[in-house]
């Protein structure tokens, strides 16, 4: 029997961690609905970074839908473009998008393609989908903002698989050479990529070790713990004169038991049964309407 899942009516909360956690569950539910409606995969990648995104948009980032190009805003670069559903849902929750629009995700003509496009969606700082660009672009922004006297911070969210790309490390070296301490790289370290496991493919040295070796100041946290994420963000820069790396240990597909750490869900589109099961587990209503 068809029924309608209720729309979540409240905006992203700025209150307690418990409120944020509840919001994150709603975002996860929204991601699964979006994947179902848009016939898209990449749920593992989206679900692993939900808590990071919720923390960023819970008041940490100085951004506003009313002042998209304010020169003093913080710049957030969503470099792991394939996890777009999570980002769109968080943007909708923060007032940057009409939440009804989330139902168009991945469909032809939508402003919300499977990989984010700045041309279509001006609230984005960059288009993404090809890995390894966000950090380099972020370093250019920092350099330019330093010269212009703009105060904003630059936060780049990357996937750990993205760090396979050599360009990430070219940019990492540059950021240190330029002493870019308003730059923050967050690595969504879910140890899962399209085919293999990140630690196996990269030889197992920790990201904290790698970034520290480049001269960054890195800190490893539980990337599913919004309290830890906020506390790390609020400590930035970890050391004056150095860029900060937050290595967020996460689980691909976090929040939905049968997707968690399961590579199949990098690709699989949820069926109606999968959706029902996931929504029941998450226990919070999604932000976009779905007929079941």
């Amino acid at each position: 029997m068809a029924h309608q899942v209720e729309l979540l009516r409240r905006n992203i909360p700025t209150g307690s961690i418990a409120d944020l956690q509840r919001h994150a569950r709603s975002i996860r539910a929204t991601c699964v609905v979006m994947a179902y409606l848009g016939r898209q995969g990449h749920l593992t990648s989206a679900l692993s970074c939900v808590d990071i995104l919720v923390a960023l948009y819970s008041g940490y980032l100085r951004v506003s839908p009313d002042r998209l190009r304010d020169p003093h805003r913080d710049r957030f670069l969503f470099s792991k473009g394939h996890a777009a559903s999570a980002y769109y849902a968080v943007l909708a929750g923060a007032g940057f998008l009409p939440r009804e629009e989330l139902a168009t995700y991945g469909k032809g003509g939508s402003r919300l393609p499977s990989h984010p496009c700045r041309e279509m969606l001006p609230c984005l700082e960059i288009s993404s989908g090809s890995l390894g660009h966000g950090l380099g672009m972020g370093t250019g922004m920092v350099y330019g903002m330093d010269q212009s006297g703009n105060r904003g911070r630059v936060v780049v969210l990357m996937s750990d698989g993205e760090c396979n790309e050599g360009s990430v490390w070219e940019s990492a070296a540059f950021a240190v050479a330029q002493k870019q301490d308003r730059l923050v790289a967050i690595v969504d370290n879910n140890n899962m990529q399209a085919v293999g496991r990140t630690d196996q493919l990269m030889g197992g040295a920790s990201f904290e070790h790698k970034f520290n070796a480049f001269g960054w100041e890195a800190r490893t946290i539980d990337g599913q713990d919004i309290g830890q994420i906020l506390s790390a963000l609020n400590d930035v820069p970890f050391k004056p004169g150095r860029p900060s790396a937050i290595i967020a240990k996460t689980t691909g597909g976090a929040g939905v038991s049968f997707m968690a750490d399961n590579t199949v869900w990098h690709y699989r589109v949820p069926s109606k049964e999968d959706l029902t099961k996931a929504l029941a587990e998450l226990g919070e209503p999604p932000m976009t309407r779905v007929s079941l």
Binding site: T139, Y143, G144, Q147, S167, F174
Partner: protein, 308 residues
């Protein structure tokens, strides 16, 4: 041409305080005046072309007008992905400078050959691609490229190329008619125009008068200038220091097919083969017949065959 570039860059940065220069650790001594004048607007990112372009894109997103510089083969090949995505997709006004396009670094080996730079860049969305023929064209084109709303690529040569004088104005996107004539139309891009001018001047003493039309802007090609030329001549001689795909010859051939005008076309320049043996640029041009001597010979043959 290298000096014309560095002088023009300095002028540009003096006039426009959003101009910022980034190098991939190349240009030793070339930019000393620039560094002295604008230390904060000179960035050496190291031997890191991918980062060079991503960083420039970030600067452009902040309203700066970045100019990125490396050897043409590395600039276009190693950073192609970054140029395509971070610059092209984002429609950013980044100027990409390829030093030593074609076989300027012929004797440095295949790693330094750049016979595909123009074609690669022409494939990037919104890209304007220029290959100036002399220092004078560099000086005129550089400020124009810096005011474009989108990305551009400029191939520049070495120190000390000769200058040539011609009344035709130097404007981005416009071909320059350098010598008027009949029956044969020589079209050039880049520094081989010097060879073509020498050939045409020699041919004039023999009573042979080809038209010489120089396309410093390879992409987008000025279609009406090309059509006009095609309507006036029986044969076209394309001279380019570029591979067969994506350069001037390919653009001319495509336009001929598209317009239905099918003159006899001879293309002079390198082919698809690797160039081994480390020839100097002049030696290669001579060997492959696209120096002044080779161009003149081709024109003589065409002139004779059609007058018979």
């Amino acid at each position: 041409m290298r000096r014309a570039f560095s002088d023009s860059l300095l002028k540009l940065a003096t006039a426009d305080d959003s101009v910022i220069f980034l190098t991939g650790d190349l240009g030793f001594g070339v930019f000393d005046d620039f560094i002295a004048a604008f230390p904060k607007r000179y960035i050496n990112v190291g031997v890191a072309e991918a980062h060079l372009v991503d960083c420039a894109a970030g600067l452009a997103l902040e309203g700066w007008r970045p100019i990125v510089y490396s050897i043409a083969s590395f600039m276009t090949g190693r950073a192609y992905e970054q140029i395509r995505v971070s610059v092209g997709y984002h429609k950013l006004p980044v100027m990409i400078v390829g030093a030593g396009g074609g076989y300027l670094y012929g004797d440095s080996g295949v790693t330094h050959h750049a016979k595909e730079d123009l074609g690669l860049m022409a494939l990037v969305a919104g890209m304007t691609v220029v290959a100036p023929g002399d220092p004078n064209e560099v000086e005129h084109l550089l400020p124009q490229l810096s005011t474009l709303g989108g990305p551009s690529y400029i191939r520049i040569g070495r120190f000390g190329e000769p200058r040539f004088e011609a009344p035709a104005p130097i404007n981005v996107g416009q071909a320059r008619m350098l010598r008027d004539g009949k029956r044969i139309g020589i079209v050039t891009t880049g520094t081989v125009v010097i060879q073509a001018l020498a050939a045409v001047d020699q041919l004039a003493t023999e009573g042979i008068h080809p038209v010489l039309c120089h396309f410093h802007t390879v992409h987008p090609i000025q279609v009406d200038a090309l059509d006009h030329l095609l309507s006036r001549v029986d044969s076209i001689v394309v001279v380019e220091e570029h591979g067969l795909q994506g350069g001037l010859g390919a653009a001319v051939a495509y336009r001929c097919v598209q317009s239905g005008r099918l003159p006899h076309i001879v293309r002079l320049g390198p082919g698809d083969d690797l160039v081994l043996g480390n020839p100097k640029q002049e030696e290669l041009r001579q060997e492959l017949g696209f120096d002044a001597h080779g161009i003149a010979n081709t024109c003589r043959r065409l002139w004779d065959s059609r007058s018979a």
